[in-house]
C-alpha cells in the first residue's frame, strides 16, 4: 500500500479546509464586485457630463495653447501602471504587467526613457528592480474615492507642464464583464483634440461663460484627466474582484474534484485492507483445521 489510510484521510481533510477558504474568498469577491459595479454605474453620469462639457468647449475654442495639449517630441515617457495589491486572482495582474513590459521594451528600443508610477503592490513589486519607479501608491485600492485620482492627477499634471516628461500612458485592466478583463493601454498626455471633439458640441452655442471659455477649458482638461484616471481605477478594482471570483470558483471546483478522487482512493485502500485481513483470517482457520 503506497499510502496509509490515515495519510489519505489527512490529505482529504486538508483539501476540505482549502475548499472552505476558497469558497469564502469567492463569496467575498462576489460581494465586493457588486459594490464596485455599483460605483462604476454611479460614476458614469459624472464622466459623461464632463466629457460633454469638454466636447462642447473644445469644439468652440480649440486653443492649442493649453499646455496639456502640447505635443513634444516624446523622449521621456511615463507609465501609470494600475494593478491590484493582492494576488489569488488568476492572470489578472500578470496580463497587465506583461503588456506593460512589452510596451516599455518597445519604447526603450526606440531609445526612449521610461519611468513608472505604480498603483498597486503587484506592479510595483514586479518592476521594483527592473525599471525606474518614480513613485508608488499601494494599499489604496481597497477603499478609494475620487481623491486618489485627484492626487494622481496633481502628481502628473504639473510635471508634464514643467516638461519633466513628454508623454503619459496608463496601463490598466478594462472591465468587460464579470468573467473577463482585458489589459488596456491608453495615452493620457498630451491630450489630442481628436479625443474629445465631435459635432455634438454645437448645441452649446449662445452660452454665457464664466470665466472665459479659455479659462474654463483650462480648468476642465485636468478634470477630464482625473475622470479618466478614476475610471481606470474603478475598472481595475471591479476587474480584480471579478478575476478573483472566477479564480476562486475554479479553485473550489478543483478542490471538489480532488476530494472526490481522494475519497475513492481512501475507499479502495480500506477495501484492500479489509480483504487482506479477511484473507489472513481465512488462511489462519484453514491452517488450524488442517493441523487438528
Amino acid at each position: 500500500m503506497a499510502e496509509s489510510l490515515r495519510d489519505i484521510r489527512r490529505k482529504t481533510q486538508a483539501v476540505e479546509k482549502t475548499k472552505q477558504i476558497t469558497r469564502a474568498m469567492n463569496m467575498v469577491a462576489a460581494s465586493k464586485l457588486k459594490n464596485a459595479q455599483v460605483r462604476m454605474e454611479n460614476f458614469k453620469p459624472y464622466a459623461e457630463k464632463v466629457l460633454e462639457v469638454l466636447n462642447s468647449l473644445a469644439s468652440r475654442v480649440m486653443s492649442t495653447t493649453n499646455p496639456l495639449l502640447a505635443v513634444r517630441e516624446s523622449q521621456r515617457i511615463r507609465l501609470l501602471l494600475i494593478t491590484s495589491d493582492r494576488g489569488l486572482c488568476g492572470g489578472f495582474n500578470t496580463n497587465v504587467i506583461k503588456m506593460a513590459e512589452g510596451f516599455i521594451r518597445e519604447k526603450k528600443k526606440e531609445g526612449k526613457e521610461v519611468s513608472v508610477i505604480a498603483v498597486g503592490k503587484k506592479g510595483r513589486d514586479y518592476f521594483k528592480k527592473k525599471e525606474n519607479i518614480l513613485s508608488y501608491h499601494i494599499d489604496v485600492l481597497g477603499s478609494f474615492d475620487m481623491s486618489l485620482a485627484v492626487a494622481l492627477g496633481e502628481e502628473v499634471i504639473p510635471a508634464f507642464i514643467s516638461e519633466e516628461y513628454d508623454e503619459l500612458h496608463v496601463a490598466y485592466n478594462e472591465f468587460r464583464n464579470v468573467a473577463s478583463q482585458k489589459p488596456k493601454m491608453m495615452k493620457l498626455l498630451p491630450l489630442s483634440p481628436e479625443d474629445f471633439s465631435d459635432e455634438k458640441g454645437e448645441s452649446f452655442g449662445g452660452y454665457i461663460y464664466e470665466p472665459s471659455e479659455e479659462e474654463l477649458l483650462a480648468q476642465i482638461i485636468p478634470m477630464y484627466l482625473k475622470v479618466q484616471t478614476f475610471n481606470a481605477l474603478l475598472q481595475t478594482s471591479a476587474g480584480e474582484h471579478g478575476a478573483r471570483m472566477v479564480a476562486m470558483e475554479n479553485a473550489t471546483s478543483n478542490c471538489e474534484e480532488m476530494i472526490e478522487s481522494l475519497t475513492l482512493k481512501f475507499n479502495k485502500a480500506r477495501q484492500a485492507a479489509i480483504t487482506a485481513e479477511l484473507m489472513d483470517i481465512v488462511g489462519g482457520t484453514e491452517a488450524l483445521a488442517k493441523s487438528s
Binding site: 453620469p45 457630463k49 485627484v150 454665457i208 461663460y209 464664466e210 474654463l216 476642465i220
Partner: protein, 135 residues
C-alpha cells in the same frame, strides 16, 4: 406654485440630488448667483462653497466642492467633486477639524509646500462647518 426647474447635482460617487426646485443659488468662481426658471444658458466654474435651493419656501443647504454648473432654461446641472447636505454633516466634528487645521496652518510658513494644501482643506472645512450650522 411658482414655475420649477430641474436641479441635478452629480458627483463621482453618485447622483447626489435630482428634483424640481424653485430657485438655486450657486457659488460660482466669480461670485454666487441665483438661478430661476428661464435663466439664460450659462456655463460656469463653481468653487467650493455653499449651494442652496428653495422648494415650497424652504431652503436646503449643501456644501459642495469644486466643479462646474451648466444652466439651461429649465435645467441646472451641477458637476462637483463632493456634495453634502447640511444635516448630513457632523457640526461638532467639523468644528474640531477646523480648529485642528487652523493650528496646523499656523505652524506653516507661506513658502511651505504644504501651505496651499492645508489652507485649501481649511477652507473646505470652514465651508462645511458653516453649512452644518444651518441645519
Amino acid at each position: 406654485m411658482a414655475d420649477e426647474l430641474l436641479l441635478e447635482i452629480v458627483t463621482p460617487e453618485k447622483m447626489a440630488f435630482s428634483d424640481k426646485v424653485e430657485e438655486v443659488t450657486i457659488p460660482g468662481v466669480e461670485g454666487a448667483f441665483g438661478v430661476l426658471i428661464g435663466h439664460a444658458p450659462l456655463l460656469s466654474a463653481v468653487q467650493c462653497g455653499e449651494l442652496d435651493h428653495t422648494k415650497n419656501n424652504k431652503k436646503t443647504y449643501y456644501a459642495i466642492g469644486d466643479g462646474y454648473a451648466e444652466v439651461t432654461g429649465e435645467k441646472v446641472t451641477v458637476l462637483v467633486e463632493s456634495c453634502e447636505r447640511s444635516d448630513m454633516i457632523d457640526t461638532e466634528k467639523m468644528r474640531r477639524e477646523t480648529e485642528e487645521l487652523e493650528s496646523e496652518l499656523a505652524k506653516l510658513s507661506k513658502d511651505d509646500k504644504d501651505y496651499e494644501k492645508v489652507s485649501a482643506s481649511l477652507n473646505k472645512a470652514k465651508v462645511r462647518l458653516k453649512v452644518a450650522e444651518k441645519a
